[in-house]
Amino acid sequence: MQSVVVADSIVTRFGKQVVHDGVSFTVGRGEVVALIGGSGSGKSVLLREIIGLKRPASGRIELLGTNVWEASAEELNVVRRRFGVLFQDGALFSSLTVAENVAVPFRENTDLPTDIVAPLTGFKIALVGLPPEAGAKVPAELSGGMRKRAALARALALEPEILFLDEPTSGLDPVGAREFDRLLRTLADSLGLTVFIVTHDVDMLLSVVDRAIALSGGKIVADGPVTAVRDSGDPWLRDYFAAHA
């Protein structure tokens, strides 16, 4: 299987504190992978390093065959058009309506005419299960769950090959979270998306994820199918799954 995300011996330091001490893993095309770990284990930092927002102290990150931290700004921007990111709180532009938010990637990165962008935008909003009237609202008028869906519509706008999600179900009620899981699985299966999720939602792991990578103490402690990770015997993972049952 072709690898679309490669992390090789990543080391991250904040001052003297070592957050990642040689973290390596790969994600194959079409996989739905979750990165799990306790609060403060550096999951979100690792995600920011993969998508080119924060430079690791050492190590190599390859995204769709491009070395993220050696690529020029132009090369990196080409890669950036091929993946979408859903930030933890959605990170929708607060001065724009939902529809305008979703239209931003089309406007900035394609030369499609308005009579194609407008229906496409409407379709993307419907694709993530938002009602049509949500398009005219500004983010402040939406609930947390709707904001996440709107942000997902924006992340999916340019038909990305990889989708990165940071805590997609945090702040959602269990019903909303499971609906989001189903939506994600449907999209991943139908669109052939590679999905990389940072989460600590065990239900999400069990229902949508093909493979889990567990980060603890700055190292990968388990990497494999969710059931294998659960039974791996690592004390932190045992507590983690036990807390759920």
Partner: protein
Amino acid sequence: MPSWIERKVEEGTDVLYLQGAWRLPHVAAIVDALRALRLKPCERFVVDGSALSELDTSAAFMLLRQLTSVGCTESTLSARGFEPRHLRLIELVRARMATPPSSEHSVHLGVLERVGAAAVRVHRQLASQNAFVGQVALEVASIARAPRLFRPRETIAQFEAVCIDAIPIVALVNFLVGVVIAYVLGVQAQRYGANLFVADGIGLGVCRELAPILASVVVAGRSGAAFTAQIGTMKVEEEIDAISTLGLSPIQVLVIPRLVALVLALPLLVFVGDLAGIAGGMLAGTWQLDIAPRVFLERVHDVLDLTHFVVGVVKAPVFAIAIALIACRMGLAVARDARSVGENTTSTVVQCIVWVILLDAVFAIVFQQMDI
């Protein structure tokens, strides 16, 4: 240039062959190709995907949209030759596209509507400002009854930020304006050989009007904006709600320390402004009009009654109250998003400056009537 779609008639049925990579970058060309077919309603179509190399949701959506718009339904359409993943994708798109697409553009108001909306907004703002003044007055009264509710440490911290830190900029602005006014006055006064009267103009002008106005404008831009941004960000982060649920009053915790700090700070800043403005005037007088600094100061001493100084300083606490109350209210009125913090901060500065000048005009009339 690949042809995206080809239409053939086979054994009496219309077949649409989809070809190539149906992806977002080519959507515009695909839509043109679809339109060029000039499909007619009520025809039966077979859509063949065997030559399709790639398909994404945008292209699939445009295909289905075009077919639906000419009246094709599930009963008049059939698909064949698609890869399973493409079929799944088409199925997903068809399930989700049932909802009518929303328009991207927000509503634009006409001129009359804008004027009306602005009038209503001003009315609401004045009403809520009024209510806020009442609220703060009640809280001040309750502090007067129970002085331990007052927060000296927070007040001192605010005082440092709004007064001590503002001294250099207030001094600089007043000094420069003093230089400019003395220079401009001097050009006129020289023609009449009335050089020394520049000292009169500077002494009275700076102390009565310029120093209070300039200090207030600087404070409105500096501290007023800071108050709104600080309190507004706290509102966004739900800190204000946290203060309320801890049984504290946000007005006592946030507003009153800022109010007290500003009421104490502004008269002092006006005094600093007086000194700096006169110093600026004196400098210009020495340079341009050959008035010795000692002579200039003696003249100022002669013409500048204590009344003039008091008139300037007395206005300051009133301006301070206006600035603090507007800034804090606008901070508390922030909605829960980042844009709102910026909008309210801008509005604070505008409102503060307008109110300071308005109040100054009222003072001018009152003092005139009182012959001061």
